[in-house]
Symmetry: C2
Subunit: 381 residues, 2 copies
């Protein structure tokens, strides 16, 4: 087969990244947040790639947020300076935090308990490093965080940090509940609830005479649908850069903006069952089945041709470790395409963070759909 | 806290492997299959580690089976010689197969269509390498394979291979349907059905004058419950080495034999909800929720203390990328243990293959539960 794109020459399964879509997704988010008058702090946990980070960040120094200390180390070695480790700090991780800070990065941590504040304050006093801290506030009962109206805990944490010579930088919230929504009005309401909780918590700290320069919120859906961000200083979002079927189901990205796909090869058929078997199983696609809870269940992914055009109703209906079972959506009237042994497909992922993590590099496609370069990515902790 | 085991000093989340349990699991399977008079071909797709392979294989040369060409390359570089690539071959993968064979390994491939046989025969004729092939036979409608009674296709594939100077080595089946069972009698019946299908397909080839020296079956559950393996030459199994909660739910392993766990640190609480938050989210545990379809749903994993003793009814009830939400099983009368910030836990995985793939090494525990060594593992294709 003639192949001017290089896609036929790649070993499969592997990860493809459409650079033009990535750039457009980033530009759209930047413009939107600039219009709302807030700074943008990209989350690097989806891409885990210095090349993607350079496109997503306003400057090589940041700002950005990461989900692991491995990411903090990797990005700060490449020049990132303004960064938050966005998972509640455990005391035994403070040595690694200090090592990154000692190399010049302004790495901040988050926490939501007085126990953690004690440990951080003791660390700051011992090392003389005024470690910056954001208090995690619970936007919607989804995960971690101090309740936004729990003035006693917020103020106790703030006072303990300041007394211990750590530096209180502000509050941070994540509207994780937005992932369960799909109606634009409900998403705008979730964004407003996140804003109100953030502003309320910041107000409590300030009323107690504590500093709160940063009021940080974010999730891809609320960043997309927020109507007003008065009182917010920065918004965090990450998965929007690549997009995925889950975020498309939420309505936070358009399906045609999804920049990430898995390249697969047809390795067999069970014709009586209408199955096309590929070499992209759950190891290549991830075990994520997030769309199973949405209005449209995309199986383990939606199947496209080599140019990235979806086949009507064709999904990865089931998967084993190294086998994907491609079939028409149940009840579909579409025709199963004729895809012989060796044919190549592109599969849009349920969840870009999970699918990306199964791979160690991106094969980056240029405007003509050609494999133009390789961008490595990291995994692990 | 005093810590003679080294577990308190590890960065979390990370993967722990109990070497004694691993050795016992391997010995038990070896003894069982020796008693049934068949050879054992360990599947290396779960561990993806040369150190584990050395323990699992009868000899450094094998036999073994792998799920990716990357595994074939990695293990053959270390001396493996007798190996099957156990996923239907795509023609464009033959160059990598040939490169491994050229370095001295007897790497065999599998296929289930005349199209693939044509490509393999053409490759064998072109290169002069009598590439060994097993015909994949469908044991139970689970995935790939020629129907065991489809004499026309079996013989056509066999003849095409032999005519093209490839070498027909036999038939291979995998009773994937056994994973959906849990009753020992039903599992023994699944093993017998797998055996009958294998012997039947081998008989069809032999009756047509074709060679079929190898009759290969296997899955951890059928290897555990087979009563009789007359006519079978080898059994393949892999996940039994580590075991996991899913296989325990099937009844194929005992919960106390599970050798793999994820070490996690407590990073927070939502006390009103009965939640303990850890730093082992789905990135460390995998997105696998296989036990959701079993009688006992283990969430994202079962929670144990540092010595590996399960806390009653304590599971990872939900997970975000880097957050595990630990809670009592719904309806439990057990008491939530007091686990302060910084406490460490061990989490038994739903699926060892999926959880292992999120990590790049095993921290290997000796008989005293001490971290004795590090075994690297590979991922990717």
């Amino acid at each position: 087969m003639a192949d001017a794109t290089g896609l036929e020459a790649l070993d499969t399964p592997c990860l493809l990244l459409d650079e033009a879509r990535l750039r457009e997704n980033v530009e759209r988010m930047r413009a939107r947040l600039a219009g709302l008058g807030v700074a943008f702090r990209p989350h690097l946990k989806t891409a885990k790639s210095r090349d993607v980070a350079r496109l997503a960040m306003a400057a090589p120094e940041g700002p950005a947020i990461v989900s692991t200390l491995r990411e903090a180390e990797y990005f700060c070695e490449a020049g990132l300076r303004d960064v938050i480790y966005g998972v509640g700090i455990a005391p035994d991780k403070l040595a690694r935090v200090a090592a990154v800070r000692a190399r010049g990065a302004d790495l901040a941590v988050i926490l939501d308990s007085l126990e953690q504040a004690e440990a951080v304050a003791a660390h700051a006093a011992r090392t003389g490093d005024p470690l910056p801290v954001l208090i995690e506030v619970d936007a919607d009962g989804h995960r971690s965080g101090v309740a936004p109206d729990d003035a006693e805990t917020l103020v106790a944490i703030g006072r303990r940090l300041v007394a211990g010579a750590a530096s209180l930088r502000g509050v941070l919230l994540h509207a994780g509940h937005s992932y369960a929504l799909s109606d634009p009005e409900a998403l705008a309401d979730a964004a407003e609830a996140e804003r109100v909780a953030a502003v309320s918590a910041a107000g409590i700290l300030r009323a107690a005479g504590l500093p709160c320069p940063v009021v940080s919120v974010g999730s891809t859906p609320t960043a997309r649908f927020a109507r007003d961000l008065t009182g917010i200083t920065e918004v965090r979002a990450g998965v929007f850069m690549f997009g995925d079927l889950f975020q498309a189901g939420v309505g936070a990205v358009e399906p045609e903006d999804i920049a990430l796909s898995v390249l697969a090869t047809v390795i067999g058929h069970q014709r009586k069952k209408g199955w096309i078997i590929t070499d992209a199983g759950w190891m290549a696609l991830s075990r994520d089945r997030g769309t199973a809870r949405q209005a449209v269940d995309q199986g383990y992914g939606a199947v496209c041709d080599l140019a990235g055009r979806p086949y009507p109703d064709l999904i990865v209906a089931d998967a084993n470790q190294e086998h994907g079972i491609v079939a028409l959506r149940r009840g579909s009237g579409a025709e199963l395409p004729d895809l012989p042994i060796g044919a190549r497909l592109r599969i849009l992922p349920n969840h870009a963070c999970a699918t990306g993590a199964q791979h160690d590099r991106y094969h980056v496609l240029d405007d003509a759909g050609r494999v133009a370069k390789i961008w490595p990515r990291i995994n692990g902790w």
